[in-house]
């Protein structure tokens, strides 16, 4: 099953890249500037999107609810990582897990405040959606109060302290082009892929992951099997927050600039990602992440960067109309 995921990821990267590339060069006679570089960019950017969307998809698949506060958890995770570098002088490789755990805890508190009371009352899914919007707005506003809305960045010396970064970014010479890839970008590409495989392993093979799937399938059965459903919910939120936190720190490193609004832009892209992949489809979230990144990178490469949002959001809108189960989803298939 893991090989299949890998296959899907790779095909998403290459098809998402190749198809627009071929269309651009042969149909419109547009020159794509340094395609190798674009591919590299699409890979690490797609990796962040996938990681972010994974948490979204996880909550939807296990709990059946859309947590619109996920983007704020992402931002908080990023800031917790950043602050532990800025204020506590932690090295980045410590700040990263700190940001992840911080994101996890923020996600659990979102569950406690916004979802738990509604679950008790068996409220409709839409109420949960609204209250998650409420939680998101509160988290965002708190962040602007606490961290201020001026951009912040990881200090250069903390980045230089990472192994292999000291002098210059790696420059790989390919046959006829320079591809500039920094070690951080490689890490950004690798870490999410590793986390995705861990997640998939957990959900499919570990006991707790199987318990999550039972809860997703039928909460009554779960409870009769001695599974503490409340704990599984909290754990699922924690995991989604950990993934979001990792994405947040990586995003901060990748663009080397953070504002409390960093979540807002990713929020809607992440929504597009999970809808493309099929709501609640974990593998689909990964594939969708790379697809969306490719759409963006290609439109930038072709000189239409200003249209990339239009393309992304139109595809969100259109895919829902044409294929609401997503590209990978089979209609009527179970959520998890």
């Amino acid at each position: 099953m893991n090989l299949r995921t890998l296959f899907y990821v790779l095909s998403a990267i290459f098809l998402g890249f190749l198809i627009p590339y071929l269309i651009a060069t042969y149909l419109f006679n547009k020159e794509v500037l340094s395609p190798e570089q674009q591919l590299a960019n699409a890979m690490w950017r797609g990796s962040i999107y996938s990681l972010f969307a994974l948490g979204y998809a996880l909550i939807f698949s296990i709990l059946g609810l859309l947590n619109l506060a996920h983007s704020s958890v992402f931002m908080w995770g990023g800031y917790i990582g950043l602050m532990s570098v800025l204020k506590l002088d932690m090295p980045i490789w410590v700040a990263m897990p700190v940001g992840m755990i911080g994101g996890g805890l923020v996600a659990v508190s979102v569950d406690v405040i916004a979802f738990m009371p509604l679950r008790r009352r068996n409220a409709p899914r839409i109420s949960q959606l609204i209250s998650s919007i409420g939680a998101s707005v509160i988290l965002l506003s708190l962040a602007t109060l606490i961290f201020s809305s001026t951009p912040k960045r990881f200090p250069q010396d903390s980045i230089d302290a990472l192994p292999g970064t000291a002098d210059k970014p790696l420059t790989w010479l390919l046959d006829n082009a320079n591809v500039r890839i920094t070690p951080i970008q490689i890490a950004i590409f690798v870490i999410p892929i590793v986390l995705m495989f861990l997640l998939e392993y957990m959900v499919n093979s570990l006991k707790i992951g199987k318990a999550m799937r039972v809860v997703a399938f039928n909460q009554r059965i779960a409870r009769l099997l001695s599974i503490n459903v409340g704990n599984i919910f909290a754990f699922t939120f924690f995991l989604s927050g950990v993934l979001a936190g990792a994405a947040g720190v990586l995003q901060g490193l990748a663009f080397n600039s953070m504002t409390p609004y960093m979540g807002a832009t990713v929020a809607l892209k992440g929504l597009t990602v999970i809808v493309l992949g099929g709501l609640g489809n974990i593998r689909g979230a990964v594939v969708g992440g790379f697809l969306v990144a490719n759409i963006e990178i290609m439109s930038i490469a072709l000189g239409y960067g200003w249209l990339s949002d239009a393309v992304v959001f139109s595809s969100l809108f259109l895919i829902l109309l044409v294929r609401p189960q997503g590209l990978l989803g089979e209609s009527g298939k179970m959520r998890a």
């Binding site: 859309l66 109420s127 919007i133 602007t144 239009a310 969100l316």
Partner: protein, 325 residues
Amino acid sequence: MDAVFDFLAPVGLNETNFQFMLIAAILGCSIYVTLYGGMFSLANAGFMAIGTYVSVVLTQRYDWPFVPAIIAGMVAGGLIAIIVGLPVLRLSDIYLAIATIGFGEVVVVLIRNFDRIYEEIFDKKIEITGGGKGIKNIPVTTDTLHLIIFLLIVVYFLYRMQHSRFGRALAAIRQDETVAANLGINVVYYKNVAFIIGAMIAAGAGGLSGHLNRVIEPDDYDFDRAVDILTYAVLGGTTFFIGPVVGGMVLRYLPELLRRLKVLSFVGSIVGRDLTNEQAAVDGIINGIVLILFIVYLPGGLADPQLWKSLYRRLRPNNTQKGAP
């Protein structure tokens, strides 16, 4: 009118604030119509943007008079709602929400890039929407009376709706779509009509607010605006026609009241921060708390007749004790 506002000034109610409260009330009504039929659509910020831009472009660039321009904006909103509604309203709850969020974003992006897209296609420079910077120096033509009249028309419509065939059909659809269809209610038709009406109200609010603000920018109509509109309806309640009006006005007035009562500087002095310059963040926190509190504890909203009845009963314990056997 002026005398009234002189009187209300100490509580933070000047005419400008009141105008924005009226706009908020109208926007609340626009989402109320769809929620009344059980449709969770977040498209109204998009329709508001359409109404704003169409009417402002007409008055500013083509010298249309005010009222026809507003009506044209509403018609444009309605037409786009017809096109969008048919496919989108087949989706249910979460999927409808996501699709309408997507729609809103597409509208904003298209408005922001309208001139550029035109140039790209027709190879001719124009200035219609003014890109990301928007349109500036719009003379203020909307006055309080326009807003009041428009709101009254909308509220009268909502009031009539509640007791009409149309309203009953929507209520039935909200209860259970399949049952409603089995009862012979044309679900697709009624849902689309509600969606179109909601869109036109939002577009009208947009046109009126566009001629009130002096400046319009595409970013004013993004997801945050959709959340604002939703909050108005959630605060006021979605089953009783006064709800969205109360919700919109209260929510819009709350920050002014807080400012007047120096709540912010008081809280700020406790936490040791000057909060008076953080209006946006404070508004956000209020919005968020309102959304959660009302959805969790008062799902009927502020204007829920049930709520007031039970409150009344509780505040007059003597009566109930006498009445009890």
